[in-house]
Every structure is written in structure tokens, then in C-alpha cells.
């Protein structure tokens, strides 16, 4: 019998930039922090690409609220970014105060945040918004987002469109250990109350799948209900996506070295509307 220890979280990091910040994302992050009973650290990243854009004197900005294009200079861009950072800070503090979550905030430039992230060892969950106000998942920094995900070594939750999180999880796992890890993370993230967790074996050998079915009794804590295992083992991402139900569940991926190394897989998951919790 294997002891089931629920993952303990200590600090959640929310990463936002000019493209991805939205009030719903902040609300969702605060909700997660409240569910986990931890503090939330917000980081607003001034994208290095944006800084560069401001330095080019022939760039024009097309505002979403106005049909007229304006010249974009560095001064204007700096002011916009600073104003946006202040706005994000205010919104975070307000949302945190409402849900009684301790909130920290700072703004950084360019890729510095990755270094900073490393210097914050107490952070054990990073939240990244996968879309922005335009709800576009494709046009903005597709490659940089993926590369960021691949570089992060901590559990990372990729939100989609700022939707509030449900308590339904699908854990994609390729081993019993991976299943246990995923289950621990899902239980921690779901908090108290009713929840629905499904283990979805991926690329697993028949023997391992059988073992997982046997061991599920052990890894399933007695006080928890609603945990089940999918009847089939899926072999590709398309099958994963087809097997996911309900639509708004959180996809917990516990073996993403194998999974994400295939660009096609990663792309389809990033494009899907399911929030992704990536566990290394």
C-alpha cells in the first residue's frame, strides 16, 4: 500500500505581460491561491520585443479602441507599460483583499523574469495566461510562450481565456508514479468539497495499465470520492483530446518530456481550450 500525501503548495506566481493580462485571469489566479491557502506573487513582464518596438521610430500602433493609427515612441510605450503595471497591481490587490489572499507584485523587463523565477525557491506553482484580451491563442508570441514553458522546471498552470477553474481534472499519465503525482497535484488544486478526477493513461504498456488499475485503490485516498480511471489507454494527443470530458476540465500532464517533445502535441494542447497543469 502506498501512502497518499497531498501536495503542499506554499506560493503561487502569476506571470502577466501586456498581451496576456486580463481581469478574469487575475481573478482565477486569486481563486486558486485562495483554494490552496497560499499567497500570490504577481509579476508583470515588460516584453523585450515591446521595448524594442518602442525604439524604432517608424512603428505605428493600431489601438483596439480607436480606428486611427498613432506613431509609437519609447516614451509613450514606457508610460503605457507603467500605467498597465499599476493597473494590474491595483486589480490584484483588490481581488486579493476580497478573497483574503496575501498579494505581492513587481514588474520586470524582458526575459529577466526567468532568472527571478529561479531565485524564488518557495514558488511551487506558476500561473501563465495562455490568451489575451483578444482571445487569440495563435498570433502572439507563440514560440516564446512554448519556449518559456519548456524552460520552466516548476509546476505550471496555463490558463485559457481567464475562465474560472472547475473542480474537474483529467490526469494524463504514462506511469503509476506519474499518476500519483498528477493525482496529488489535482487534489491540492481542487481544494475541499466535491471534485471529479479522471486518470487517463497515455502511451502506457498494457501491463502498466493493469497495474495502475490495481493500484488505484491504494493511491486513491479513502476520504476522496469521484476519482476514476479511464477504461482505455490512449496513444496520441488526438485520442487524449477526444477522451477529455467534460469540456472545461483541467488537463494535468505529468510526463510532458515525452508529450511535449513532439511539437505537434504541444501545439494542439496549447490551442485547446483546456487549462493545462504541467508537472515535470
Amino acid at each position: 500500500m502506498v501512502d497518499m500525501v497531498v501536495q503542499k503548495y506554499h506560493r503561487v506566481l502569476l506571470q502577466m505581460d501586456a498581451a496576456t493580462h486580463c481581469r478574469e485571469t487575475m481573478a482565477a489566479a486569486i481563486e486558486i491561491a485562495a483554494r490552496l491557502g497560499v499567497g500570490l506573487q504577481g509579476i508583470f513582464i515588460e516584453d523585450s520585443d515591446l521595448v524594442t518596438v518602442g525604439e524604432l521610430d517608424f512603428i505605428r500602433e493600431f489601438r483596439l479602441s480607436s480606428p486611427i493609427a498613432r506613431n509609437l515612441d519609447k516614451l509613450t510605450l514606457d508610460a503605457q507599460l507603467r500605467a498597465m503595471a499599476s493597473s494590474v497591481r491595483r486589480q490584484l490587490e483588490r481581488a486579493g483583499s476580497r478573497r483574503k489572499v496575501t498579494v505581492g507584485f513587481h514588474a520586470v523587463s524582458g526575459d529577466l523574469w526567468l532568472e527571478q523565477e529561479k531565485s524564488m525557491p518557495e514558488t511551487d506553482l506558476i500561473i501563465i495566461e495562455g490568451t489575451g484580451r483578444l482571445h487569440s491563442r495563435l498570433y502572439r508570441t507563440r514560440s516564446s510562450k512554448r519556449s518559456a514553458l519548456q524552460n520552466i522546471m516548476r509546476p505550471t498552470l496555463l490558463l485559457k481565456g481567464g475562465k474560472s477553474l472547475t473542480k474537474k481534472f483529467v490526469v494524463v499519465c504514462d506511469s503509476v508514479d506519474a499518476a500519483r503525482k498528477g493525482l496529488q497535484a489535482a487534489l491540492a488544486l481542487s481544494g475541499t468539497g466535491e471534485k471529479e478526477i479522471m486518470l487517463l493513461p497515455y502511451g502506457m504498456a498494457a501491463e502498466d495499465a493493469k497495474k495502475l488499475a490495481t493500484d488505484i485503490e491504494d493511491i486513491n485516498p479513502k476520504e476522496e470520492k469521484g476519482i476514476k480511471i479511464a477504461p482505455i489507454v490512449v496513444q496520441d494527443v488526438a485520442s487524449v483530446l477526444q477522451s477529455i470530458h467534460p469540456a472545461d476540465c483541467i488537463l494535468v500532464i505529468t510526463e510532458w518530456g515525452q508529450f511535449f517533445n513532439l511539437n505537434l502535441n504541444a501545439e494542439r494542447l496549447l490551442e485547446s481550450r483546456h487549462p493545462l497543469l504541467l508537472l515535470q
Binding site: 501586456a18 498581451a19 520585443d49 515591446l50 524594442t52 518596438v53 525604439e55 524604432l56 521610430d57 517608424f58 512603428i59 505605428r60 500602433e61 493600431f62 489601438r63 483596439l64 479602441s65 480607436s66 480606428p67 493609427a69 509609437l72 510605450l77 503605457q80 507599460l81 500605467a83 498597465m84 476580497r98 489575451g132 483578444l134 482571445h135 487569440s136 491563442r137 495563435l138 498570433y139 502572439r140 508570441t141 514560440s143 516564446s144 469540456a247 481550450r273
Partner: protein, 814 residues
């Protein structure tokens, strides 16, 4: 000289013998269903409440306490009960113009039913819509719409990004929008790298960016339109989902009210309104409180309550299905109590209102029936009379506050739709008010065409006495009093006769009768009797008088102590005892006064000292002028009246009015002129005309009793008495003590028709009749007066110089 005889005691008071009626006590008498002595009023009431034409409203007037309201109700209630129930009235929200609520007319008794149904419907709507929005089906459909539009957005930008990527241009998201920038390997070129490019490359990039900007601008411009389209789609979805959830609920109600087109139309409006405002039901109250910030949640819940409230109805008037036409008595007829009011409630420091805060007035409640109002209270309330007239004229109820009517306030308020008015108004007031309104208000007779004139007295006939006995019996039963025996009834009749001051009339004043019976019942109960007897009635009267006559006692006391000088024996020239009546509240009493007259040579003027000092009223002055002319006409037809006479009420320090002392003053004047003394044991009352005829006056009983009380205190001598006009004999209802004294010959009442009769009684000397040659016997009063006046005229003539001795006008002394 014809001797004037004192009246026999039997003429001094009317006694009622009820033996012929054959009852022992009033419990044997049948109840009287018709009001007594009010035939005219009853006919007017029957006519007034029967005729339904416009303007035939009633104005009932009569003395206060004459039973107007009760009589009107007695005839109104059966008439109202036989009439059909009027419709119910409600106010509903005007979904198009909310500040002009609409009227909903429903068959009688159904308004409350609809109100309950709407209440339960709106609660159900709240639940079903919330459930519909929470359903998986709705969420999926909503997601489909959202995703569709996301894809459309993404397609637009993906195309652009692909096109840009081919030219090494990056699409960059800025804080406020989007921009195109040169890129290499997914990174935007910095200025340094860009400057290292050849001029040609730089120009190419700039040209490419410029070319792509058109596409970017089109894509950006498309966004608001896409969002609008998305909102429209979502709205349509919401309407569809809400409609599906709500339609069957409303259809059930629509089916129930299919016989009432107005309700069906209202339900149609409610359906559109609810579907149009389905957004506010997306979250339940609890969910709103939990999921959104408190202030927004409060606002959200308020919106939800507002939508719910707008779908309900405000029942203004609903009638009991078992009743007839309503009879409403409004005790406090202010404008708001008549018309209704629009109330306001405070919300975050602001006063707000809606159709639910419209409250009905008396006109709403009485619509289709009868409204009874106290005319005096109505007139005294600011603008209430004008408002009532306006509503009756226009035949509709328009709810307006005073500030709206006078355009004083600028606060936004409601303008509810008017309600057709069909009401019969019955005003109850006093005669003075009726006549004043008749004279001064041109609208009055257009709107109140039926006067209901309540009489407060009835002629005494055998039939009337029998009816009155039943009237007493009815009143006693109504008030749960002891029955009256025959003696009690006859005493009541005597009292009610005395109240009219006329032996040929009985007072039909209901309050006076009721009070007398109640007081008599008290005294009978106090002594443990089972019947109210004559003694109880007498005790009630005596106690009633005693409670009120402190001032009378004080006045009598002043005569008895000699502070007020008045002789009741002996003889004096130019001095006489007059009689006046003082009215204090509902109690009046007689007071004797000494009146004196002095004469001397003068210019034909009778000086009324009361008038000179402005204590005499116009009627008193009129009496003095009449006697002045009487003197001149009778005694000095061919000569100037060359005297100055002065008349005064001695020790009178207040205002004097009325002409009832004019004959008294004339007697004093004749005594002074004839130098013949007047018996001070007598007192006089009566007015006189220019021919020397004595005319009737008011308050004869009180006057006689006032002098009697003083004489009795000083001791009745058998010489004392009162001269009254003969025409007042029929008014005598004197108290028992006076009647007994008259029976014993201790006190006398002399009926006088002319001044000559009166002066003879007062002086014991014949007045004297004029002979054919125009002269009076020299020893008669008239002869002496004429001689004195002629002497004055002669003396006056001597004082006037002959005209010939005067200098011609215009001639100078020199």
C-alpha cells in the same frame, strides 16, 4: 281703558297627555323606521341617490346633530347593496414609458387574484431563468458562439501574421493595441540591427510594414463589429433560452385570463420585458453575493428586484365579491386623501418612486359608488374643494400632489394614467355653508344639484305626537337605554318643545334627544329603576342646566347683592325693566336690565347712548329709529319734534343688539315725556313698529324666567310680571316654578298687542284715544305726551329769530 288680563297658567306651558296612545312604556311601541319630520330631506335623498346623471351630487345641510349622516346612510346602504359591484383597479408598469404607469381594469374581486398570480409567476420566472442559464445546454451553446467569434478573430490575425511572417514582419501586441515591427528569427529587430541593414532593405521593410498596416487596420476595425455581432448572438441565445423557460409559465396565466383582454395584453408585455431583461437573472441572489464584488452584487440584486417588481401589479382598489357599490366616508378630506398619493422611498439618499408606490384615495375607493364628505372639513383643507370639483367635472381621477398642481417642486415623479370616475358625492354641512357656496361658487350648482335640507322641528299634531313617542322608543333601543314610561315620554316631549321655543313645534334634533335620553337613563339607573320616568327626565334637564348656568347664577347674584341696580317694586318716571337674553355656548338665559329715558328741549333727536358709544348693534339702532319716528308721526305731525331724548341700558358694559327692547324703550320715553311713573314690578319685552304695534321677539321663555328668578329671590308680591308681545304667547313653555306662581296669582304674564295697551298696564293710566279733531284726552298718557311735545315745539319756536329780522344775504354791515 280696556283691562289687559294676565295669561292663565294653562297658557304658559304645553302639557302632553299621552293616555290616548295607550302604552305603559316605550318597550311596547314599534320602532320608527323613517326619520321624523324629514320628509323633504328623505325625498331629496331618494331622488339624489337614484338619479345617475352627471352633476346630481347631494349637499345635505341642517343643524349640527340633526342626524344627517345617519339618515343618509339609512337610505344609501340598501340602494348601494342593490347596485352592481364596480370593477377593480390596478396600476401596472408602463414598459415603454415607466414614469407614466398604466391603468388595468379588472372585473370586481379579481385584482387580488391577479396580484397573487403575478407574484408567484415572477418568483418562478426568477428560478427558471436562473436554472436555464446554468444548464449544460446553454453553457455549451454559449461556448459555441464565443468560440466561433474567437476563431473568426484568430483567422483574421493569423492570416495577417502569416503574411507578415513571410516578409519578416512581426505582429506585436502593445498595451493599447497592435503594431507591426521588423523581425528576424522570431525576435523584433532592435534599432541598431535595423540601422545595419542596407538602405534598400530598410526601405523595403518600411514599405512592407506600410502595406501590411492597411490589413492590420482592417482587422482591428473588424474587432468591434465582431464583438457587437457576438453580443447580438448571445442576446439572441439568451432570449431564446429565456423564452423557452418562461413562455409556458406565462401561457398558463394567459389561458387563465383569456376572458380579459387587458390582462392578456399585460402578460404579453411582461413576457417581452422578462425576455429582454433576462441578463439580470443569470445569477441567483446567493450566487451574485458569492461571486461578484459586494457593491456590484448589491446593484445586480437591485436590478433583479426591480425587474421582478415591474412585472407585478399594484392593486389600487379591489372589491369584496359579496358587496354592492361602495359607500366611503372620508373623515379627513385632504387633497391626498381624496386623490391618492405617490409615495417615495429613500435609496442611497435619493427619493425614488415607481408605480407600486401609488396609493389610492377616497375617490378610488368610492368609484362606482358613493362618497360622503364633511363639507366644512373639505372647504378648510387647502385646495381640496377645487380638486374635488375638478375631478367631478372631468369625471376622471388624476393623481397629483399639491406641489405638482402648483408647479412648486421639480422632483421627477410619476404621471399615472387617469382613471374614469363615476361617483356620487354627498356633502354634509351646515346651511350657512350651503348658502355661501350657492352664492359665491359658480360651479357649485353644476356639480351639487340636489339640496337635502334637514329640518330640526316639526309641527305638533296628534299623529306627530304618536310618531314622536315611537321615535323616542327607537332612540332608546338603539342606544340600549331603559324604556321610558308615559311620564318620561311626556317630559321629553315638553323639553323638545321648549328647545324649539314654540308650543306648536317639536324639535327633531337627534343629538339633543339622544343626549337627554342618555342622561335620563343615567339618573334612572342610578336610582335602580327599570323605567325612565318623568322625574328622571326632569332631573336630567335640571342637571344639564346646572352644569351650564354658572354665568346665570353669577348674574343673578349681582342683582341680589344690589351691585346691579334693578327695582322690582315701586314706580319711577322714565325708568323701566327691560329683558335680554345671553347665549353662552348651548345655554341661554334671560337677564333683566334697567332702561332709562330723559327728555329735554332739542332738535328732534332720540339719542341711543349704546349706539353713540358703539355698543349698540344695527338692529338695536333700527328699533330706536323706529320709535323716534313713531313719536314724531303720532304726536307732532304738523310741528317739528323739538326734543332731545336719551335712552340707555344702565350698567350695561357689553354690546347690545336686537330690537326686542324697542317697545321697552318707547315706554320709558313716553313715561319721561308724560312724566308718569312706571311700575317697577313689571318687566317688558317686545319690539315695536312705526304704528305702535308690538311684535314678537325671540327667547321669550328665558327672558320671563330671568325676571321671575329675581322676583322670587326678592319675594313674589303678586304685583310682579312680564309684558310680552301677544304673538309670543304660542311660544311660552315656561318652567314649572313660573307656571305654579302664575297659578297662585303671584306672577303675571301680560300679552300686549299695542303700545297703548302696554303703557296702560305699566302706568295704570289710560293711553287715550285720539278724538275726531285729532286730540287726546288731556289726562291720558298720549294727551300728556302730545302736550309736552307741543310745549317743546313752542319753546323751540321762540328760540328761532323771525326771518324778517335777519339781514338780507349779501348786504354788508357798513
Amino acid at each position: 281703558m280696556a283691562e289687559i288680563k294676565a295669561l292663565p297658567a294653562s297658557d304658559l306651558c304645553r302639557r302632553y297627555d299621552l293616555c290616548a296612545l295607550g302604552f305603559k312604556d316605550t318597550s311596547e311601541l314599534e320602532e320608527l323606521l323613517e326619520p321624523l319630520g324629514q320628509e323633504r330631506a328623505v325625498n331629496a335623498i331618494r331622488f339624489g341617490i337614484g338619479v345617475r346623471h352627471h352633476g346630481f351630487n347631494l349637499f345635505a345641510f341642517g343643524a349640527s346633530g340633526s342626524g344627517k349622516t345617519e339618515t343618509i346612510r339609512r337610505y344609501l346602504e340598501p340602494e348601494a347593496a342593490s347596485k352592481p359591484l364596480p370593477d377593480d383597479w390596478c396600476y401596472i408598469n408602463n414598459f415603454a414609458v415607466p414614469d407614466q404607469p398604466k391603468v388595468l381594469r379588472l372585473p370586481a374581486g379579481r385584482a387580488n387574484e391577479l396580484a397573487k398570480q403575478m407574484e408567484s409567476l415572477t418568483e418562478e420566472v426568477r428560478v427558471v431563468i436562473s436554472a436555464a442559464f446554468e444548464s449544460e445546454d446553454y453553457q455549451t451553446r454559449l461556448d459555441v458562439i464565443v468560440e466561433q467569434f474567437k476563431i473568426r478573430q484568430e483567422e483574421a490575425f493569423e492570416t495577417l501574421q502569416k503574411k507578415a511572417g513571410e516578409k519578416n514582419i512581426a505582429l506585436v501586441r502593445t498595451p493599447m493595441g497592435l503594431a507591426l515591427a521588423p523581425a528576424r528569427e522570431g525576435k523584433v529587430l532592435d534599432p541598431e540591427a535595423f540601422s545595419k541593414l542596407s538602405q534598400e532593405e530598410q526601405e523595403t521593410i518600411k514599405k512592407d510594414i506600410s502595406g501590411l498596416e492597411g490589413d492590420l487596420q482592417s482587422a482591428v476595425r473588424m474587432l468591434p463589429e465582431l464583438e457587437r455581432e457576438q453580443r447580438r448572438e448571445i442576446n439572441n441565445l439568451n432570449r431564446e433560452v429565456t423564452s423557452f423557460a418562461v413562455d409556458h409559465l406565462i401561457d398558463e396565466n394567459r389561458e387563465h385570463w383569456k376572458d380579459c383582454a387587458a390582462v392578456v395584453a399585460f402578460l404579453d408585455s411582461v413576457q417581452d420585458y422578462v425576455i429582454g431583461h433576462s441578463d439580470v437573472f443569470r445569477l441567483s441572489k446567493d450566487e451574485a453575493a458569492q461571486t461578484i464584488p459586494a457593491r456590484m452584487a448589491a446593484d445586480f440584486i437591485r436590478q433583479q428586484d426591480s425587474v421582478i417588481s415591474n412585472c407585478r401589479i399594484n392593486v389600487l382598489v379591489s372589491h369584496d365579491a359579496n358587496g354592492g357599490a361602495p359607500i366611503v366616508y372620508e373623515d379627513n378630506p385632504t387633497v391626498e386623501n381624496l386623490l391618492g398619493r405617490i409615495e417615495h422611498r429613500s435609496e442611497f439618499g435619493n427619493l425614488v418612486t415607481d408605480f407600486q408606490l401609488i396609493k389610492p384615495g377616497a375617490l378610488h375607493r368610492a368609484n362606482g359608488g358613493y362618497l360622503i364628505l364633511d363639507a366644512r372639513r373639505l372647504i378648510f383643507q387647502p385646495f381640496a374643494w377645487e380638486t374635488l370639483k375638478r375631478e367631478l367635472r372631468s369625471r376622471e381621477i388624476r393623481i397629483e400632489s399639491l406641489s405638482q398642481m402648483m408647479s412648486l417642486g421639480s422632483m421627477v415623479s410619476l404621471q399615472p394614467e387617469t382613471i374614469p370616475l363615476d361617483v356620487k358625492v354627498i356633502l354634509i354641512g351646515d346651511p350657512m355653508l350651503y348658502y355661501l357656496l350657492s352664492q359665491h361658487d359658480p360651479d357649485f350648482h353644476n356639480l351639487f344639484k340636489v339640496p337635502v335640507d334637514f329640518d330640526d322641528r316639526m309641527p305638533v299634531t296628534d299623529q306627530a305626537i304618536a310618531l314622536y313617542a315611537r321615535f323616542i322608543a327607537t332612540e332608546a333601543r338603539k342606544k340600549n337605554l331603559l324604556p321610558l314610561d308615559q311620564g318620561g315620554v311626556s317630559q321629553v316631549l315638553e323639553r323638545m318643545t321648549r328647545l324649539t321655543g314654540d308650543t306648536e313645534r317639536l324639535s327633531s334634533h337627534a343629538r339633543s334627544l339622544g343626549d337627554l335620553l342618555s342622561e335620563a337613563d343615567h339618573w334612572a339607573s342610578t336610582r335602580g329603576a327599570k323605567l325612565i320616568g318623568g322625574e328622571d327626565v326632569k332631573q336630567a334637564i335640571a342637571a344639564h342646566i346646572h352644569r351650564s348656568d354658572r354665568m346665570r347664577e353669577r348674574t343673578q347674584e349681582q342683582f341680589q347683592r344690589g351691585i346691579m341696580m334693578l327695582d322690582t317694586s315701586g314706580e319711577k318716571v322714565g325708568q323701566i325693566n327691560g329683558l335680554s337674553v345671553l347665549q353662552l355656548g348651548d345655554f341661554s338665559f334671560g337677564r333683566p336690565s334697567r332702561i332709562t329715558a330723559r327728555v329735554h328741549l332739542g332738535r328732534g333727536r332720540v339719542v341711543d347712548i349704546e349706539r353713540e358709544v358703539e355698543l349698540g348693534g344695527p338692529l338695536h339702532s333700527k328699533g330706536v329709529l323706529i320709535l323716534s319716528n313713531f313719536l314724531a308721526a303720532r304726536y307732532t305731525q304738523n310741528k317739528p319734534l323739538s326734543l332731545t331724548a336719551s335712552l340707555v341700558f344702565e350698567q350695561s358694559y357689553g354690546a347690545v343688539d336686537g330690537d326686542s327692547a324697542s317697545s321697552t324703550e318707547l315706554y320709558a320715553l313716553l313715561s319721561a315725556l308724560a312724566e308718569v311713573p312706571i311700575r317697577q314690578s313689571l318687566a317688558v319685552t317686545g319690539s315695536v313698529n312705526q304704528f305702535g304695534e308690538v311684535q314678537a321677539i325671540g327667547g321669550v321663555n328665558e327672558k320671563i324666567e330671568g325676571f321671575f328668578d329675581l322676583c322670587r329671590f326678592r319675594g313674589l308680591t303678586g304685583e310682579q310680571g312680564v309684558l310680552i308681545p301677544a304673538s309670543n304667547v304660542k311660544h311660552l313653555m315656561l318652567k314649572d316654578e313660573v307656571v305654579e306662581a302664575a297659578e297662585k296669582g303671584e306672577f303675571h304674564i301680560y300679552p300686549i298687542s299695542t303700545i297703548d295697551e302696554g303703557i296702560e298696564v305699566l302706568t295704570g293710566i289710560p293711553a287715550g284715544e285720539m278724538s275726531a279733531d285729532g286730540k287726546y284726552p288731556p289726562d291720558s298718557i298720549n294727551g300728556r305726551v302730545k302736550a309736552r311735545l307741543e310745549a317743546f315745539a313752542e319753546m323751540a319756536r321762540k328760540y328761532v329769530r323771525p326771518v324778517s329780522e335777519d339781514k338780507p344775504v349779501g348786504q354788508s354791515d357798513g
